[in-house]
Symmetry: C2
Subunit: 267 residues, 2 copies
């Protein structure tokens, strides 16, 4: 069952990975007229008419490492549909403690406050893996959502998925060890990347998980001893995806299943 979830979610990855051949930097306007050719699953899954509603307002943007897409409590100017790269949603307290609540790659979008009529949110959205994507002005998205119930439904369904993901994060944070939380993080990131290897430092991971840097180093070496990953300076390669999943103990797959149920067309 776990394997099945994984396969199906991985297949989403496979379907779109090869389409992302847009190497030309900084294309100012949308060139692909075929929505299916866009490597963002949400956009690719829209009906032709829904896509046409968005199309005039969509524009390509690079998502640069560390770029802050949304600042807490500031009005959201754009929603982003990544076609490559990963953004993470960071919750912070008044005391400035931070932790990653969820992540979004090309399977979704960020800027949920727009369809939720909230205008802004207390979350910060940051680009964690470099990539690119399409963005749309908040007002344009709002207008399109008003016109199309089916577009609205798609965007709202993804919010359901994200809620589940965040709740699973809460669950994992209270019940699981650092190696387990780390394994979950690695698997979730890997699902949204093209390759099994990515550039990441222990320091970075410690910030995401909200633990000591040294704790991450220890946990990584534990995982490496089990041959599930391989680490070199500044990079980590996933060797055994399913072994990592098993390590987590049932908290991986819940959000992925919800995504599949609500948003994976076909299959």
């Amino acid at each position: 069952m776990c394997a099945k979830l994984n396969i199906s979610f991985a297949s989403i990855r496979a379907q779109t990975a090869e389409r992302h051949d847009a190497r030309a930097p900084n294309r100012p306007k949308l060139m692909d007229t075929q929505r299916a050719a866009i490597a963002n699953n949400l956009l690719a899954g829209l009906s032709e008419s829904d896509f046409l509603l968005l199309k005039p307002a969509l524009e390509w943007v690079d998502l640069n490492l560390g770029e802050i897409l949304h600042q807490p409590r500031e009005k959201l100017e754009f929603a982003y549909f990544p076609t490559a790269g990963i953004c993470s949603i960071i919750a912070e307290s008044a005391a400035a403690t931070k932790a990653e609540a969820g992540i979004v790659g090309r399977e979704g979008y960020i800027g949920w406050a727009i369809p939720l009529h909230a205008g802004s949110s207390p979350f910060q959205s940051v680009v964690q893996m470099q990539g690119r994507g399409l963005r749309i002005a908040a007002s344009a998205l709002q207008e399109a959502v008003r016109k199309s119930p089916s577009l609205s439904a798609t965007l709202l369904k993804f919010i359901q998925v994200v809620m589940v993901q965040i709740a699973q994060t809460a669950l994992v944070n209270s019940h699981n060890t650092i190696p387990q939380r780390l394994a979950r993080w690695l698997v979730m990131y890997r699902d949204r990347m093209d390759g099994p290897e990515f550039a990441i430092t222990h320091e970075f991971l410690s910030n995401m998980l909200g633990v000591r840097r040294a704790g991450v180093s220890e946990a990584l070496s534990k995982l490496e001893m089990k041959k599930t990953i391989r680490t070199t300076r500044g990079r980590i390669a996933i060797l055994d995806h399913s072994a990592l999943e098993k390590l987590i103990g049932g908290s991986y797959g819940v959000a992925e299943n919800e995504y599949r149920r609500l948003l994976s067309q076909g299959t």
Copy 2:
């Protein structure tokens, strides 16, 4: 600043607490025609026309302790607008580990999957504090939402609030000690109760927080030594709300602030 948030959220409590005088048990049909007389803040804040859309389908129900309102992955039959009592939203993993992700009292509703077009969700909704409220069939709510954008907006805004609450839970679970997490729990429950005292066992709290029962006992006695609470067998009384807030360290108030920003009319 923290105090201000607290006052405003507490004032919501004060506004509606005395209105809940519906002592007659099991009234089968809605008697109050004045929506403002209904002690659920979301319903009370609706426009007259939005409320009339819902009214024919609303019915009073008792919310009995331990009652399961939504089972994970089962189709949602009803949404619930509590007027008294507290429901909690529980996330669980495939390995059956559970933790409370968020709570809802008379300030909101449960059944978010309905406006999100999800039909069901992997969460479990359970009555944690006995009370009563109004429920509406999923199909009726869906129909009403389709007709009224403003009703839809209200329900979606509350989902934003809940997302923030769940994300704060994730943050607290990874950064804070048991006494702090306990303090947060107590404060959040107290905000949704009429009085400062409620019946609760350590065992129950340990399940909600996902820690040992003995850990809760220790944490409670620490809080009691600081004169912030008073415990007797099977019950806990809040003595110093603001001291508890300070203990938590900035993670309380974020969701409450978001609620105030989006949903507290007037003031």
